[in-house]
Subunit: 257 residues, 3 copies
């Protein structure tokens, strides 16, 4: 069964997502359709990229990702279909899929999708991306979908700053529970992050621990989350509210002496 | 693969939509289920009708639309199943599907669904509509689902007013991005809507343009949207907030001299 | 077609639900995936239990319910797979499925799921529950998924209090329309609940009626809802707002003299 996984910033109120699915089903009525999320912050290419990085490797190979966060729709940005690590991606060429493609070992095949005549200026999800995803799901060769291209536009990225016993990182996303997730991975390495050790975060103390059940209700903890990213959580509460943090904000961690 | 597309005002918090799907699957476990939206404004038959009009023709013919926006549930309004333009609609007979059926060339076959004994007074989506949609998806003849009926109740509609160089129209819906969509279609024709021309909207100036990328971040534009409806947008912002507009509001456009 | 029905408190913004589905599809790519809801109040095991009780019997037997409301993730609470009434449940053993299993006649077979090495501390939905649900959907014997267990942890429950002509009950949930649903079932029996009779609710009068269409717009009514639970509604309005009620609140009904 061909799987098509959809991600967008279209939200779930409007008919846009349903219409994209209709256009996939025109080409591949038996597709297994999975929503990754349609609640990416409007126009936030970096949050969309984050969700893809966290998710792609859990899907069976062969899955087609139809990813549309497209603030430049109607401009000269390219529409592309690419293959990497056994997965397919159909997306605008604006950095949305470049990080995950890199992690999968880089672009194997890429094509620039033509914009069919009669397409709207504002809804390439329906007119350009969904039909291409449907054709890939139905077994079309990726090379048949457009002219070859060799390199994706890179994602404009965040930076991590170490200074002595301090680390400054960026809030990548805030999840449904209010957990605050930082752009800092176990592999980035910082010796201060040892279970049981206390750190100062924006000058308040919090322990680096392991599980929610080790702290009392309402207390904070720092942990490596299920994606191996640094996370600030409050047991049965919202860390974003308790700590007053937002997406994009810079936060400083100090190792306690 | 039979496709069943669902629309309702049930929201996504409660179990109602999942239970309707269960009742479809009792009759047709292999159905391809697609959510159009379940976030129609509660009891807004006209917004539900708008979403159907924007979406139906993108689906493969044969699709069964299970549409439930039903403020009159428990009253004497009829429950119906109708065929038009190769599509099927199962819905309350309150104007929800009459506009799209008209656009598809009118009702080909229609039946009034019986209410099974033991049905609840308040959840015909589960007890009446979903089983009928499941049976259609499984291949039942529409004529086997109830007694023939010939005419749908019409949708109570909005009116457009031209006066000299002024046009007054209604806000039909506001999408996830805050774009404001008016009940005015390209085919309604108004010579003032020419790319590059400036109009006054509620006494503020805005240019009728073509694409989001032609204006600066935070600036407004008027455009024909991907559904050929008049839309007021703000690049990377919410026009509904910037302009203070709500669904149902009347807005006046003046051609600038 | 094997059906997997998902319920969680993960919300619909994050990638968590999509990733759980990916892990189901790794074992059973042809599964029919149905979302019951992912908007259970965070950590509210009792609201999750309510949604399951309202829904399970409408699904075809054989359906696998993948239910994750898991405030104790990472603690010593067990992860289980159980069979009851022809349905399968994969869930944390914290009361989430014990009520519905009781209603289905009690546990037929139950196993404790092992936590695979390399599992995260915080996302057993992905690492423990989804793979088990996928294997059940693909036809694995439940006994092959873990060591036998015989008894589920019970759900901590609400109490109903009768006193003379008064009844005090708890707000179980508030639905998308603002209808207030109480923990009081037709089978609990109270002679004051007769159509046409007036009651005092928190000292305001309201009629026990049958359908929304019998009262004027904006007026309140009490009714047995489609799940045979006592419900307070406002025609085309939100009873929760009009009456100022919240989940968990205690409310007193008095039979009018």
């Amino acid at each position: 069964v061909p799987i098509v996984c959809l991600l967008s910033d279209f939200g779930t109120k409007d008919h846009y997502v349903g219409v994209m699915k209709a256009c996939v089903l025109q080409h591949c009525p038996e597709a297994q359709l999975v929503d990754l999320t349609h609640r990416v912050l409007p126009h936030s290419v970096s949050e969309g990229s984050y969700y893809l990085e966290q998710s792609v490797s859990h899907f069976p190979t062969g899955t087609v990702f139809l990813a549309v966060v497209d603030p430049g729709v109607g401009s000269s940005r390219k529409a592309v279909a690419v293959k990497a690590g056994g997965y397919f991606f159909v997306a605008p060429d604006n950095g949305l899929v470049s990080e995950v493609v890199d992690e999968l070992g880089g672009l194997e095949v890429g094509v620039e999708l033509a914009v069919p005549s009669g397409s709207s200026y504002t809804f390439h999800g329906r007119d350009v991306f969904a039909p291409a995803a449907g054709r890939l799901a139905a077994g079309s060769e990726i090379g048949s979908l457009g002219a070859p291209m060799a390199k994706l536009v890179a994602l404009a990225g965040n930076t991590k700053a170490f200074r002595g016993n301090q680390l400054t990182v960026t809030v990548l996303t805030i999840d449904h529970f209010g957990n605050v997730i930082f752009d800092f991975h176990t592999r980035n390495g910082w010796e201060a992050l040892v279970p049981g050790k206390t750190l100062r975060v924006n000058d308040r103390r919090v322990m680096f621990g392991a599980t929610y059940s080790r702290v009392l209700l309402g207390e904070s903890l720092l942990l490596w989350n299920s994606s191996n990213l640094l996370e600030l959580a409050v047991r049965n509460g919202s860390a974003a509210e308790v700590w007053g943090l937002e997406v994009g904000q810079r936060v400083t961690f100090k190792a306690a002496p």
